[in-house]
C-alpha cells in the first residue's frame, strides 16, 4: 500500500486535535514491557522442544510406557542416542527422500506457474490462480481421505499400489507444497525490476540469454525459499501422510505420531533432537545464503 492513499482528510479524523505531547514514540518503559512479552512468547514456543531435548538425555530405564518421560531429566546420559533403532533411521531416510523429491518438483512447477501468472496475460488468469491456491482451502484431512480413496480405487482397478510407497506419499504432499512454492517464486518475480532485463536486451543479449543470465539468478532466492518451504512442509506434515502410509515403512513424522499414540519408544526424543538440530542448521544455512526475507515472504500470505 502507498502512503498517498491515506488522504489528509483521513489523518485529521485519525488524529483529532489534542495538546502535543513531549515524548513521541513509545516510552522506554513501554518498550521494556514489550521486549519482556516477546521473550515470554518465544520461551512459550520453545518450551515443548526444550522439554523433548531434556527427555532425550534422561538416563532412566523406562519401565512402563511413559515413565521415563519427565522434565527435568534425572541425569545426563547419551545412551538413547546410541540405541536408536535401525527402523527409525530408515524412516528418517524415507522422509528425507520424499521431502527432497517434493521440494524439487514443487520448485520446477512453481517456477513455470510463476512465470505464467506474473508475465502471461489471458482471460481467466484469476481462475488459474485460484486453482493453484485451492489445496490450501481444502482441510488437510479431506485431502488425506481423498488421496487414500483414489489410491484404493487405482490399486483395485489397475493393480498400481501407491499407498505406503514413496510415490504415493510424494504426490499427496506435493499437492499441498505447490501453492507455497508458487507464492514464494511469483513474489520475487513480481518484485524484479523490469529495467534490468530491458538493459540486458538493449545491450544485445538474446531474450533467452537475458532470462538465463539476468532474471533467473535474481529470482533464485525466491526459488530456494519455495523449495525449502516445500521440503519442510512435506517433512513435518502428519495429517495427510498418516493416511497414505503403509504398515511397514513410515515417514518420520508419522512414525513419531504413531509412537506417541500407541507405545512410546524411548529413543524418539533423542531422534527428534537430532532432527531439530538438523533443521536448525538447514534454516541457518539457507538464511546465511539467501537472507531472512525470502523465508518470510513465502510465509503463506503471498500469491
Amino acid at each position: 500500500m502507498s502512503e498517498s492513499s491515506l488522504s489528509t482528510e483521513d489523518l485529521r479524523v485519525v488524529a483529532a486535535p489534542r495538546p502535543l505531547r513531549r515524548r513521541r514514540g513509545v516510552s522506554r518503559w513501554g518498550r521494556n514491557v514489550g521486549y519482556c512479552y516477546l521473550g515470554l512468547v518465544i520461551l512459550f514456543i520453545y518450551a515443548p522442544i526444550l522439554v523433548v531435548m531434556g527427555a532425550s538425555v534422561d538416563p532412566g530405564h523406562f519401565v512402563s510406557t511413559r515413565a521415563f518421560l519427565q522434565f527435568p531429566p534425572n541425569g545426563f546420559s547419551l545412551r538413547w542416542y546410541f540405541s536408536i533403532a535401525p527402523e527409525l533411521w530408515a524412516s528418517l531416510w524415507f522422509s528425507l527422500k520424499i521431502s527432497a523429491l517434493s521440494a524439487f518438483t514443487s520448485a520446477v512447477i512453481g517456477l513455470m506457474a510463476a512465470f505464467g501468472l506474473v508475465r502471461g496475460s489471458f482471460p481467466g488468469k484469476a481462475l488459474v490462480s485460484a486453482l493453484f491456491r485451492a489445496p490450501l482451502q481444502i482441510p488437510f484431512i479431506v485431502t488425506g481421505v481423498a488421496f487414500l480413496q483414489t489410491y484404493y480405487l487405482l490399486s483395485a482397478n489397475t493393480g498400481l499400489a501407491l499407498q505406503g510407497t514413496l510415490t504415493g506419499l510424494f504426490l499427496g504432499n506435493l499437492f499441498v507444497s505447490i501453492p507455497y512454492a508458487i507464492g514464494s517464486i511469483s513474489v520475487s518475480l513480481a518484485r524484479l525490476n523490469p529495467r534490468l532485463e530491458e538493459a540486458a536486451l538493449t545491450l544485445g543479449a538474446s531474450p533467452w540469454r537475458a532470462l538465463w543470465r539476468v532474471v533467473l539468478p535474481l529470482i533464485m532466492p525466491g526459488l530456494y525459499g519455495g523449495a525449502l518451504f516445500a521440503f519442510l512442509i512435506t517433512f513435518t506434515e502428519v495429517t495427510i501422510s498418516v493416511f497414505l502410509s503403509g504398515a511397514n515403512l513410515l515417514p518420520f513424522s508419522v512414525y513419531v505420531f504413531t509412537s506417541v499414540t500407541t507405545d512410546m519408544e524411548p529413543t524418539i526424543p533423542a531422534m527428534s533432537t537430532i532432527v531439530f538440530i538438523g533443521s536448525l542448521l538447514l534454516v541457518y544455512g539457507v538464511q546465511r545464503v539467501l537472507g531472512m526475507e525470502t523465508l518470510l515472504r513465502s510465509g503463506g500470505t503471498s500469491s
Binding site: M1, E3, S5, L6, L11, V14, A16, R18, R21, G25, V26, G30, L38, I42, I45, A47, P48, I49, V52, R66, L69, Q70, F71, I109, A113, G116, R119, G120, S121, L131, P135, Q137, I138, P139, F140, I141, V142, T143, V145, A146, F147, Q149, T150, L153, A156, I178, V238, T239, F252, S253, V260, T261, S272, S279, L280, V283, R297, G299, G300, T301
Partner: protein, 284 residues
C-alpha cells in the same frame, strides 16, 4: 510477447487439475455409495451416508465443537501474536531478524514432536501440575490432557509461529511515518494503534486468520494426542471412521460435509474482506 509465457502455465495447470480433480471426484463419488465392509461398496447411488451424518446429533455437536475450537484458537492466537508482530516490525532490524529466525525454526519442528513435549509438560506428574501443587493452588494433580482447554492450548501453541510470520508481513507494509504523522497531530499512543495501525492491517489480518482457520479445521493430531480420546472434533471422527470402522463411504460423506462448511466460511469471509477493502480503499 505475452503469449509465450501463457504456455508455461500448461504443465502446472495439468498437474494441479489432475491432483485436485481426480482425488476430489473419487472421494465425492464414494460418498454416495454405502460401504458394505471388506472393501465392497453398495451398487446403487444413495444419500444414506449424508442422511446419517446430518441427522446424528453426535456429528452436529462435533462440528459445532470444531468450529468453536478453531474460531477461539484463531482469536486467541491473534491477540497473542499481534503485539509480537508489531514489535518485530518496529525494532532494530538485526535483532528482529534473529528473533524471527528463531520463530521460523520452531515452525519447522514436526507437530508430533511438539505435542510430545506438551504431553510431558502436562502429564499428571509433569511440570505444570507440579508448579501449581508447589503454589498450593491445587492439592491433587491437574488434569489437562483430555480436556478442551488442553487441546485449545496445544493448537494455540502450534498456530502462533505461523501467525507471527504472516502478521509480520502484513504490519511491515504500514509505514512508520503514518504513525509519526498521527502523533504529531496529537494522537496518543493508543489512539495511533487503534486508528492507524489496526485498521490498516485489518484486511491482511483477516486473510491470515482465514488461512489459520482452514489449517485448524483439517487438523486432528493435536486433538487426538492432547484430547486423549475425549475431545472429538470432526477430523478426529473422520479419522476414527476410517481407521477403526473402515467405513469409507461414511468417511467420504463426512469429509464432504467438512469441505462444504469450510468452503462456505471461506467464501463468506472473502466477500467480507473485499467489502472491507472497498471501504478502506487501500491496503494490499
Amino acid at each position: 510477447m505475452a503469449n509465450r509465457w501463457n504456455w508455461l502455465l500448461a504443465p502446472p495447470v495439468v498437474v494441479s487439475l489432475l491432483l485436485l480433480g481426480v482425488t476430489q471426484f473419487v472421494f465425492l463419488e464414494k460418498s454416495f455409495f454405502l460401504d458394505l465392509g471388506l472393501g465392497l461398496s453398495g451398487d446403487e447411488l444413495t444419500l444414506q451416508n449424508y442422511v446419517d451424518v446430518l441427522t446424528d446429533p453426535l456429528y452436529f455437536d462435533s462440528m459445532k465443537l470444531t468450529v468453536v475450537l478453531a474460531f477461539s484458537v484463531v482469536l486467541l492466537s491473534l491477540l497473542l501474536t499481534y503485539p509480537v508482530a508489531y514489535l518485530l516490525t518496529r525494532m532494530p532490524p538485526r535483532l528482529a531478524t534473529f528473533l524471527l529466525a528463531a520463530i521460523v525454526c520452531s515452525t519447522f519442528v514436526s507437530v508430533s514432536i511438539k505435542i510430545l513435549g506438551m504431553v510431558i509438560i502436562f502429564a499428571a506428574d509433569g511440570a505444570v501440575s507440579g508448579f501449581f501443587r508447589w503454589l498450593g493452588v491445587i492439592d491433587q494433580s491437574l488434569q489437562i490432557i483430555g480436556t478442551i482447554p488442553g487441546v485449545i492450548f496445544g493448537y494455540i501453541h502450534l498456530a502462533i509461529g505461523f501467525m507471527v510470520m504472516m502478521l509480520f508481513n502484513v504490519i511491515q507494509t504500514i509505514p512508520v511515518r503514518l504513525e509519526e504523522a498521527a502523533q504529531i497531530h496529537g494522537a496518543s499512543r493508543w489512539r495511533v494503534y487503534w486508528r492507524v495501525v489496526v485498521p490498516l492491517s485489518l484486511p491482511g489480518v483477516l486473510n491470515a486468520s482465514l488461512i489459520e482457520f482452514n489449517l485448524l479445521m483439517g487438523a486432528f493430531v493435536t486433538a487426538i494426542i492432547l484430547g486423549g480420546g475425549k475431545v472429538l472434533t470432526f477430523p478426529v471422527l473422520i479419522q476414527r471412521t476410517l481407521t477403526l470402522f473402515n467405513d469409507y463411504g461414511m468417511a467420504a460423506a463426512m469429509s464432504a460435509v467438512l469441505l462444504v462448511i469450510v468452503l462456505v466460511i471461506n467464501v463468506v469471509s472473502v466477500v467480507c474482506v473485499s467489502r472491507l477493502k472497498l471501504n478502506l480503499g487501500t491496503v494490499a
